[in-house]
């Protein structure tokens, strides 16, 4: 029996091609998704191993809420699905900062080689050899204060480490990308403006940096900018410690633990610091990074499931064809004594073979896919060194999934072959389809339940925003509170999607009547024939459409959300933004003061409004202390730049009067109302007189010591009669004292943090989405709690003089900021598109997904049509015999395919748009304030689906026409 199966398989190979492609596609997504995840994990591990390579880290011992940068990115994009995963810091949790002076304490612990605070400066821009700013897809440019021994995994390959502000050392990737070599001079844009720098060295790291441009800075320079950026002096997030136990090599985990224990003993109790092993930090970081990247795999897997789902019924269809054609053969086998099981086996053997071949190809394809992605990323500037080869378990999973799906797909036709009584098998009778109404009822019930779940979800979201009770039943309310919005949303979506798939066969007849209305009036005969043909096997039609349904549902749901996000953002710009231009730093950092001056001096400028961010501002005291992004604005903000969308109070008046203007989100989080008095804790950096005096005294003492020492040596040499040596020493003495005279007193200045507390009144609450999570105050108020060291200009809003030529002004502005590289001037439209550029990235992913589901759907439609054509050979022959032209047959099948495609697409759109509307409503408070349904896009999808159907019908129609009319109608 197995031999018969194998022989049949060889005979049917042509038939299997499509099934093999489907299985291969499905399996390739499965394997590819695993492979991709492993590659990313591997990359993360590699990067952590070389980037966080310390043996012991000393960090704060109390966890803190994060405040600044991440939430800024999320709120300004106005979208829930923020893609800031790339920026997800390698720190999973935030701890209190610790005093860098602990370095001395730690350095003296036995077994410590070096202990240092490594300062990192973000938002730098490196100017490449060609005079343009270097940027890559991979991410940001960052500078680190590096010197010998501060970063063990970094190996200097050329030159030396930077020792001054005008020197830099480049990572190999950075040097390559920028086209710079040791000795070249270029410009580096520091947060406060560009500076001429010389490349003094190049270093390499074991792992690639995934496209990040890493610049080694002079440690002192790095420290200075780090303090500016963080607004904190003399503190660091963590200190890195290298141990000496392994002679310069990384310590083992035990050695790390011993060293950490020893350091912990040495740390003073009031330092609020704790030493942890490097391994534990790496593990934590790896876990959090991997979690952040974890969303990618399920996304790929969804499409793997669609592909396999389609694959399974392509296989069912294919085997149905094969079984139908071989029915006489099976009947013969049965009549000479083969058992049903044996007949089943002959079919199952073919399925297993097909599954093996398909999975094998799929594994290779998945592997190639990940390799392709990696190659593509490398070309776009994000080289990955993570391993891309699938593990044995990946391959096994792929193989098992592939074979299992094939077997499941083939089992129904195989069963039919096995169970058919020999006599019935001889006669070619088509059994009428089982009624579809039970499925209709079950599907409808599931959909109703799903809609209820969505309604509950909507209600919970509404209550969360507006207060009140979810329902009159308290027990239900408790349940709703514990569930939140996520669960009902997900359960509802799941029920509706499955409900539609279950219900679909019952919808085929009414739908094809409706969708077939136009074709059956335009093409009277072919249209009607096509429409009726669809209702013949409703399940098959519905399954074919289901593939497109799921894909289109996902795509239209995302489409609605993306479009709403875009509209929500555009809404601010359209209705709110009044200024002609905006300027911001492309490195997401501050705008240099010189650049601001240059803009202000540009001809034709009327007003320039500065938005300055205040570092480290908190509100309240004690346990209620909460941080919020705080900006200092000019009093004219609301009249010249943004029209306020006021929730309570008078925003314009409040700002002018020095009261706080609070974003709705912040107000809600803290329970503030207009008129409330709030304690504002600001931070200022001031000169520490005592420390400065001490530093100067220390320096003088040190110089004096050196001179005394040299004088003593000179005297000794003189006594020994070495006049030349003594003279040299005298020269040295002169040099040291000259240096001491010439030293810049500024380097002696020590600064410290001072916290100021001011009580302010909440004057207004506004809900412009850009300001939702911010607190605004005017410049005067801000100056009371912060000074120039803790306030940075983030954005400028520029108005031209009335009647001026805006295009000309824009050109002049761009020229004015050109020397600063990082400042980007945009007019109102460009500003709007910047705000929605992330949304566009989502849309790009969306189109990729759409293309994928279309490809899969085409396979499904082609296969289903091929099966129905093979079942209708005689009928099509008859139609030809009574005068139907070839074009009419093609037309009939084209209409059938198009209706299937439109059916799936319309179902998908209805469900997807509904899901999008619900999700938008649920996350309304998170910035999706405007509902926008992308009708044009949906119309394109619909048109596309018709096209897809027509394309899919080409090959089955050709097959139908290839059959000679005679074969179809001859009685034997």
């Amino acid at each position: 029996m197995i031999r018969i199966g194998l022989r049949d398989a060889r005979a049917h190979f042509g038939r299997f091609v499509m099934s093999i492609i489907a299985i291969a596609l499905g399996v390739s997504f499965v394997v590819g998704s695993f492979c991709f995840r492993e590659m990313m994990n591997n990359q993360v591990d590699q990067m952590l191993a070389s980037n966080s390579d310390a043996d012991v880290y000393v960090r704060g011992d109390t966890e803190q809420k994060d405040d600044t940068s991440a939430s800024f990115a999320a709120s300004s994009s106005g979208s829930e699905s923020g893609s800031d995963s790339t920026q997800t810091s390698t720190e999973s949790k935030n701890y209190n900062r610790i005093d860098v002076s602990l370095v001395d304490t730690i350095g003296s612990v036995q077994g410590v080689d070096t202990a240092e605070a490594v300062y990192e400066v973000n938002g730098l821009v490196l100017v490449g050899k060609d005079g343009n700013a270097v940027s890559t897809m991979g991410g940001m440019t960052s500078g680190m204060g590096l010197s010998q021994g501060t970063w063990r995994s970094a190996t200097l390959t050329q030159g030396r480490w930077a020792k001054a502000k005008d020197e830099i050392t480049l990572h190999t990737f950075a040097a390559e990308t920028a086209g710079l070599n040791v000795g070249d001079t270029t410009k580096l844009v520091y947060p406060d403006g560009p500076a001429d720098v010389r490349v003094v060295g190049i270093f390499s790291t074991a792992s690639s940096q995934a496209g990040a441009i890493i610049i080694g800075l002079d440690p002192a320079t790095a420290k200075e900018y780090f303090q500016q950026q963080s607004g904190q002096i003399g503190t660091a997030r963590y200190l890195t410690v290298y141990g000496s136990a392994a002679q310069g090599q990384p310590l083992s985990v035990e050695q790390q633990q011993t060293l950490a224990d020893r350091i912990n003993k040495a740390l003073p109790a009031d330092a609020n610091a704790v030493a942890v092993t490097g391994q534990s930090v790496r593990d934590d970081n790896a876990a959090s990074t991997k979690k952040a990247l974890g969303f990618i795999q399920p996304l790929i897997l969804i499409f793997a499931i669609i592909a396999l789902f389609v694959g399974s019924f392509i296989i069912t269809n294919t085997f149905s064809m094969i079984v139908r054609e071989s029915m006489r053969g099976y009947a013969l086998l049965r009549s000479i004594g083969a058992s049903p099981v044996q007949v089943f086996v002959t079919v199952a053997v073919q399925a297993v073979l097909l599954g093996l071949v398909g999975s094998g190809i799929g594994i290779g394809l998945g592997w190639g896919m990940v390799k392709g992605i990696v190659a593509l990323m490398a070309r776009m500037g994000t080289p990955m060194t993570g391993a891309v080869n699938p593990s044995v378990s990946d391959m096994l999973v792929g193989l098992i999934v592939g074979v299992l799906v094939t077997l499941i797909g083939a089992s129904l036709p195989a069963r039919r072959a096995a169970m058919a009584p020999p006599i019935q098998a001889m006669n070619e009778t088509v059994n009428p389809e089982k009624p579809v109404w039970p499925r209709g009822i079950i599907g409808a019930i599931m959909m109703v339940l799903g809609v209820c779940a969505w309604a509950v979800c909507w209600r919970i979201a509404w209550v969360n925003t507006n207060g009140g009770e979810v329902s009159p039943w308290s027990r239900f309310n408790d349940l709703a509170t514990t569930l939140g919005t996520g669960w009902p949303l997900g359960i509802g979506a799941g029920l509706i999607v499955i409900g539609v798939i279950v219900l679909a066969p019952a919808l085929v007849t009414p739908t094809s009547a409706v969708l077939g209305w136009i074709p059956s009036h335009v093409f009277t005969v072919t249209g009607r024939l096509a429409t009726r043909n669809l209702s013949r096997s409703k399940r098959r039609t519905a399954n074919t459409a289901a593939a497109l349904f799921v894909g289109v549902a996902i795509v239209s749901c995302l489409g609605v959300i993306a479009s709403s996000a875009k509209a929500s953002v555009a809404g601010i710009v359209d209705s709110g933004l009044k200024s002609d231009f905006s300027a911001m730093s492309v490195s997401n950092g501050q705008i240099p003061d010189d650049a601001i001056e240059a803009i202000k001096n540009t001809e034709g400028i009327d007003t320039v409004s500065q938005s300055r961010m205040l570092m480290g501002v908190t509100y309240g005291s004690g346990d209620d202390e909460a941080s919020a992004m705080t900006f200092a604005e000019q009093p004219s903000l609301f009249t010249k730049v943004f029209a306020p969308v006021t929730n309570a109070g008078d925003a314009d008046k409040a700002l002018r009067d020095g009261e706080l203007v609070v974003g709705l989100e912040v107000a809600k989080d803290n329970g503030w109302k207009v008129g409330d008095e709030v304690r504002v804790n600001g931070r200022q950096v001031v000169v520490d007189e005592a420390a400065t005096a001490k530093a100067q005294a220390d320096y003088q003492a040190q110089v004096k010591g050196t001179i005394d020492n040299l004088t003593a040596q000179a005297q000794q040499l003189m006594a020994a009669g070495d006049m030349a040596g003594a003279q040299a020493k005298t020269k040295e003495i002169e040099k040291v004292s000259d240096d001491a005279k010439n030293v810049d007193p500024a380097t002696m200045v020590k600064t410290k943090n001072e916290t100021t507390h001011v009580t302010m009144k909440v004057g207004a609450i506004i809900e412009n989405s850009i300001y939702r999570s911010m607190v605004l105050m005017n410049d005067d108020a801000a100056n009371k709690i912060a000074n120039k060291y803790t306030m940075f200009t983030i954005m400028l809003f520029i108005n031209g003089k009335s009647g001026i030529d805006l295009d000309g002004l824009k050109t002049r502005l761009i020229d004015a900021v050109k020397p600063y590289y990082v400042v980007n001037v945009q007019n109102r439209d460009e500003f709007k598109s910047t705000m929605s550029s992330m949304v566009d990235q989502i849309l790009l992913v969306l189109y990729a997904l759409l293309a994928l589901s279309i490809v899969i759907a085409i396979f499904g439609i082609v296969n289903t049509l091929a099966l129905s054509v093979s079942e209708r050979t005689k009928e099509i022959g008859l139609l030809r015999a009574i005068g139907t032209s070839r074009a009419q047959i093609r037309g009939m099948l084209g209409i059938e395919a198009a209706i299937i495609a439109v059916f799936g697409t319309v179902l998908g759109m209805v469900v997807g748009v509904a899901a999008g509307v619900v999700i938008r409503a649920v996350y309304e408070a998170n910035g999706l304030s405007t509902l926008s349904i992308p009708w044009n896009q949906l119309a394109v999808f619909l048109a596309l689906s018709i096209l897809v159907g027509l394309i899919a019908s080409v090959s089955p129609a050709s097959r139908a026409l290839k059959q000679p009319v005679l074969d179809a109608v001859a009685s034997e």
Partner: protein
């Protein structure tokens, strides 16, 4: 060509298979089918009777020779011309599987006209339907009709377009004797009343006895050409043929 000839085969030869495995299905056949007559083609299995009809109807390409229907050379036609021929000149009746299952009886009958986008002659439709006795079955689907009824629908469909000639391939092959008589009676009636030309392949002598003319084929040659033969005469001829060839079919 004479106006009384509706279809004609000239030196028609059909060879199946390759050089090693040659089967001569038709061997230089010359025949004329007359207008307004029912012609039956008889012969044992493999005699070439079906091949002759398929070639005449343009369903099969002859190896050599000519087929002419209504003065048009069928054997030289391309697909487009064949489609036109089927729409305008030829009607078909098959042994089985001859109705579109998704269409009602009425829709099946009207299908050829609709495919050809020709106007429907309602009076003619009523007449045809009443002749075949399907007035009360028009809304039924083929699966709701008996075999005889289905074949009557097929006859009505073939008649509807008023083709020059109807080719019927074993029209009674799947029917019981009662239904056979009904269908044959209807075909005969259409010849006598409306002057329809019919070419019918059959190996049922009873069916052949309804014909105006019976052609007997053996080994690709026409061996007998009988005018208005009686049932007994046909049986007699067949008995002779059987004796000569030794492989005559048992009478159905």
């Amino acid at each position: 060509m004479d106006d009384h000839v509706v279809a004609q085969a000239i030196d028609l030869t059909k060879v199946y298979g390759d050089a090693d495995n040659r089967v001569l299905a038709l061997d230089h056949v010359n025949v004329e089918f007359e207008r307004g007559q029912m012609t039956a083609i008889m012969g044992p299995s493999g005699s070439g009777k079906s091949t002759l009809m398929h070639c005449m109807a343009g369903l099969d390409q002859p190896t050599s020779g000519k087929v002419i229907v209504e003065g048009l050379e069928v054997s030289a036609m391309n697909q487009r011309q064949l489609t036109k021929l089927r729409r305008e000149q030829i009607g078909f009746i098959f042994q089985s599987f001859n109705l579109v299952p998704t269409l009602s009886a009425e829709e099946n009958i009207l299908l050829p006209l609709q495919i050809a986008k020709k106007p429907i002659d309602r009076a003619w439709f009523k007449q045809v339907v009443s002749v075949v006795g399907l007035e009360h079955r028009l809304k039924h689907r083929p699966s709701q009709l008996s075999g005889g009824q289905q074949q009557r629908v097929a006859c009505a469909r073939a008649m509807m377009a008023r083709p020059s000639v109807i080719f019927a391939d074993e029209p009674t092959g799947n029917l019981d004797s009662h239904s056979s008589r009904e269908v044959l009676g209807f075909l005969k009636q259409s010849v006598q009343q409306y002057g329809q030309s019919i070419v019918m392949v059959t190996h049922d002598p009873r069916a052949a006895s309804y014909a105006d003319r019976v052609l007997v084929l053996a080994d690709g040659n026409i061996t007998q050409d009988l005018r208005h033969p009686s049932y007994d005469r046909i049986l007699e001829v067949f008995a002779d043929e059987g004796n000569e060839d030794g492989d005559a079919e048992p009478n159905a």
